[in-house]
């Protein structure tokens, strides 16, 4: 499938790899954005990868829009031949599912929800044909997720689960967006999960909360000292369900400056994944056990 190109005014070129979300479309976007970065085209000022598309910001005083388009289509041909393999990292993110803070928030905005009598998790389990909240949490935390885009607001990761399409969890967004979401809420809308990096408005269903900060403009958190945003597109995330005690302990560790997320370097090969989803995921998750 070839890309669709369209200019966003005189300073942006939008490139859609596919209308539909898939790991294949995400990989095409990822490999094209790396190729564009490596080609160092004069006049390209920003490269923004998204789930199944990407965006180039350019300075039309330096490169004519049509010349940029020509460069990009040339890169597309080359990018299709690159091996779908990335060196990346897997991160274990502890999640306190059914926590009191997102519960308080979801109750406050119940009239904006499809099912005012159920919690977001109960609703999500039901629309996915699962037996209940526990089964939904098992599915949500049972297979890893790709960070397929970072954005919306500062440092917020969009996450796409690494399972075949029939096992994808899909939940509609709230009927009307909330005006409040606790910081570090684990949300879900459409086929994407996310982690709200800051407190604010949001339309995704709320499932739980992580004690692990992922955006720190003051750069005081040990693992955010080098850069204030934690996630990069291509990161792999594995959610680990935790209870109240573990959550409280992790928050204390964060405050004390001793919280250290579990991060391991891994290699991901799309072809290996396509051949054996569960085997590939087991190998990736195994890396988290290396101490």
């Amino acid at each position: 499938m070839s890309n669709r190109y369209s200019f966003g005014g005189d300073e942006h070129l939008f490139v859609e790899c596919d209308e539909s979300m898939s790991l294949e479309a995400f990989f095409k976007s990822l490999s094209m954005t790396s190729a564009v970065r490596e080609s160092r085209i004069a006049g390209v000022t920003e490269i923004c990868p998204a789930n199944a598309s990407f965006q180039i910001k350019f300075d039309p005083d330096v490169i004519k829009p049509d010349d940029l388009l020509r460069e990009l289509t040339a890169i597309e041909g080359a990018a299709e031949k690159t091996e779908p393999v990335i060196k990346t990292r897997i991160i274990e993110i502890p999640v306190f599912y059914q926590d009191p803070w997102t519960y308080e928030t979801l109750m406050r905005f119940r009239e904006r929800h499809q099912d005012p009598k159920a919690t977001d998790l109960e609703y999500a389990a039901q629309v996915n044909g699962l037996s209940g909240v526990d089964a939904f949490i098992a599915a949500h935390s049972g297979a890893p997720w790709f960070v397929s885009m970072v954005g919306f607001v500062a440092g917020l990761p969009f996450l796409y689960q690494m399972v075949d399409r029939p096992r994808q969890l899909q939940v509609p967004k709230y009927l009307r967006p909330r005006t409040d979401t606790p910081k570090l809420t684990i949300g879900h809308g459409g086929c994407f999960s996310c982690i709200y990096s800051v407190r604010g408005a949001g339309g995704y269903q709320m499932f739980g909360i992580t004690p692990m900060p992922i955006f720190d403009p003051e750069q005081k958190i040990s693992y955010l000292r080098d850069f204030m945003v934690f996630f990069r597109p291509g990161d792999i995330v594995k959610f680990k369900p935790i209870g109240r005690d573990d959550y409280d302990r992790a928050v204390e560790d964060v405050v004390a400056g001793t919280f250290a997320p579990t991060i391991r370097g891994v290699t991901f090969d799309l072809r290996e994944f396509q051949k054996d989803v569960d085997g590939c995921n087991a190998r990736l998750e195994g890396a988290l056990d290396d101490r």
Partner: protein, 323 residues
């Protein structure tokens, strides 16, 4: 020296020309909504064009100067007062230590820019002093200024007072305001009748208009080309698989009210966009008040680039006068 905030106005923030380079991580460029106005104000007081100044929307601040300085106020039309005496806009003005800068009621436009010789010397955050309140980043403590704040000011050789930018180089929105749009992105998602309607219909700026985006009301709802929604896009016909949003892009959630993203844009999301306001007209949006009648005017890339050169020509004329 410092400038004491006696009254912050409605929402007054420190802004420069922004922090490009982090939109791929969700951190927008930020910076002055009306960049030409900030550049001009800076040049008037002898600063670099990109020095940090104050952007105030609808209501001006009240500021006490602790030392002598040269200031200039550009952008919207709002009476400028030093110790109560009215002074001209778009002009370098001498203010003495102990004097108070204040403003009358807004007359035209939406945002004023206050440049102070030396520039506001708040710490750089990712290469810029612009305020990004959602991320508590940059500016004065990552937020709009508040009463009792003391804003640090850098030092610069005083420029002469009295220099001014002629009327013909100041830009004001037409009535109705006209915003030139390059159709594209997901333009094909709406039917031809709605494509035409978008440009034919009269629109008005809605009350929900801020640094993140400007919402518009009044035109007919858009009709979408029927399709089976792609996997991951969501069920509404205005939904797409979450993608990047260009600055100036026009999204229409549910097909009803267009939203133009501006300097503090969210970097992406799941709503289709029908096109993008051209770079030459982005400054103008920052000067639109709620309820301003507005028309969208279709242009092609050649016209967009010609308009960009026109605006650069105006800026060059200002430099030629002042530098």
């Amino acid at each position: 020296m410092t400038v004491k905030v006696l009254n912050p106005g409605l929402s007054t923030t420190v802004q420069d020309l922004g922090r490009p380079g982090y939109f791929h991580l969700g951190i927008p460029i930020g910076g002055a909504m009306d960049r030409l106005a900030l550049r001009a104000a800076n040049l008037l007081v002898g600063n670099d064009e990109g020095a940090a100044g104050l952007e105030a929307v609808f209501i001006g601040p009240e500021l006490e100067f602790t030392q002598d300085a040269v200031i200039a106020v550009t952008g919207a039309e709002m009476p400028i007062k030093i110790d109560g005496a009215e002074r001209p806009s778009w002009t370098a003005l001498r203010i003495k230590g102990g004097q108070i800068l204040s403003f009358g009621y807004l007359q035209k436009g939406a945002r004023i820019y206050v440049a102070i010789s030396g520039g506001l010397d708040v710490p750089l955050a990712l290469g810029s002093r612009s305020t990004y309140p959602i991320g508590a980043l940059g500016g004065y403590k990552g937020r709009a200024i508040a009463k009792f704040d003391e804003l640090p000011v850098g030092t610069v050789a005083f420029a002469g007072e009295g220099r001014t930018i002629p009327e013909r180089l100041r830009r004001r929105p037409a009535m109705p305001a006209e915003l030139r749009v390059l159709p594209g992105l997901y333009w094909h998602r709406v039917v031809e009748e709605s494509q035409q309607g978008f440009f034919d219909d009269p629109w008005k700026v809605a009350p929900e208009a801020d640094r993140m985006g400007y919402r518009f009301r009044g035109g007919r709802p858009l009709k979408f080309v029927e399709r089976e929604q792609p996997f991951g896009a969501g069920s509404d016909p205005s939904n797409i698989v979450d993608a990047c949003y260009p600055y100036g892009s026009i999204q229409v959630p549910g097909g009803t009210e267009p939203i133009i993203l501006h300097r503090d844009a969210v970097s992406g999301g799941g709503y289709f966009m029908l096109g993008t306001v051209i770079s030459a007209d982005m400054d103008l949006i920052g000067q639109l008040q709620p309820n301003t009648p507005t028309r969208f005017v279709e242009v092609d890339m050649q016209q967009a680039l010609a308009a960009r050169r026109d605006r650069q020509g105006v800026m060059q004329s200002i430099r030629d006068i002042l530098v």
